[in-house]
Point group: C2
Chain length 286, copies 2
Amino acid sequence: MKQSHKKNIAIIGVGLIGGSFALRLHEKKLAAQIFGVEPAPEHARQALELELVDHICTLDTAIREAEVLILTIPVNNICDMLPGIMNKIRPDQIVLDAGSTKASIIDSIRDHPKRKRFVATHPMWGTEYSGPSAAVPHAFQSKSVVLCDKEDSDPDAIEWVEYMYTKIGMRLLAMSAQEHDLHTAYISHISHITSFALANTVLAKEQQANTIFELASSGFESTVRLAKSNPGMWLPILQQNKVNIIEVLEEHITQLNAFKRAIEAEQTEELLQLILKANQIKKILK
Amino acid sequence: MKQSHKKNIAIIGVGLIGGSFALRLHEKKLAAQIFGVEPAPEHARQALELELVDHICTLDTAIREAEVLILTIPVNNICDMLPGIMNKIRPDQIVLDAGSTKASIIDSIRDHPKRKRFVATHPMWGTEYSGPSAAVPHAFQSKSVVLCDKEDSDPDAIEWVEYMYTKIGMRLLAMSAQEHDLHTAYISHISHITSFALANTVLAKEQQANTIFELASSGFESTVRLAKSNPGMWLPILQQNKVNIIEVLEEHITQLNAFKRAIEAEQTEELLQLILKANQIKKILK
């Protein structure tokens, strides 16, 4: 595919994800100008200071100036703002989001006359940090991006979005929003809940903060790392993907109870089998 | 403290931990000769090939030749072998272990006449890999090591062991075996159980291995990493620290149920508070 020109791109929400997008779009020469929409004054200031965006502007200015709008705000805000944005865009503009849930977001504009200008995406990348200062240069590289319900978007919009994600080093996957929300409940959302719950377990029982600090091995640090994640981003994800998350949480509690039973009743063979089964994750993740 | 000479050191069990000890002891010029006792022929061959040890020998030869013996075998094997080793050592030899539980190990020689030649230690370092090929050069660096029940060891034995751990870059901590086993249940053992259970949750529900591979973000990988851990090492740890681990598992399941309830009943404020509480781990771990 030939791309004749760089595009003017608006990033709605210049935090960890939006800021990292900005860095990659500049680096891969995909953007002529980047317009940042960022209501938090301190984040807006940082976004300019870190040269993530060329301009900080209002949403209306962004819609007027940009050919592509990327929504990198919490998923509840995407649902709230997306219909209004779709109302205002011209027929040649492209809107995409990078939210971690997909069904609720798509539902928010299901019957919108300009639905086909929207591309629902989820780049599977993030860190436990937040804000523009958390943006990093090599974000997204070698990770997967999921495009959902592609048939409901215009081919030219899909084409540019796939071109952009390929340029920034991502592997393209396609699936329905329902499939996406089910798989991410297992492969991403549950990890955050177990990490939050692990932090709360340790903080509830281990009264000496110093002991946690002194004894924390890299194993503990890696399982509890996600507990630092931003509630503004994660609370609405857990709420929007409620049905899938409750199902996976129930399975996870069942699995933990199996360990508890095997340890409590000193069932060595049963405990061994539980660990050997878990070890099979080695075959899938290097 | 002046150390007049390098010591002959025996490493009982040349795997991840024993092999990493060997690398650091060589590097820090602490060892004249390293004698490896390793019953698995393939591991013994690798230990020589990787030049981790100078000799592979029997336990009796190791006891005859070495001034210091370091036990880096699973904690059940330590309990089984330690009394026999203590029977055979001379009054000037030092025996230490690096096991992840401490009360059971100390109990195994509680009334032994040579108890004071033993130093109970737990260097808080490890990876999810195993065997001599998993040994790494900068192991232990900047991590903590716990010495337990120091008053039950001879001062010269403690002095050398602290000297050795300081040389390889570890921070010294001292506590009772009971305190150690309680704290490690919270800060290390539970992380392994949550990781094993998370792997089993995903493997039970996610039938498409390819989807796990494709969608796995770094967040999932870090929470599930420990699920690759060796059952030979971890099964006896979970069994020996049963009482503490059951207590922490119950608390962890309670915490997970709190998340489940808040998500299920759509209690936004309650869910926010659970996440904000978990975020406090940021204050303790950078």
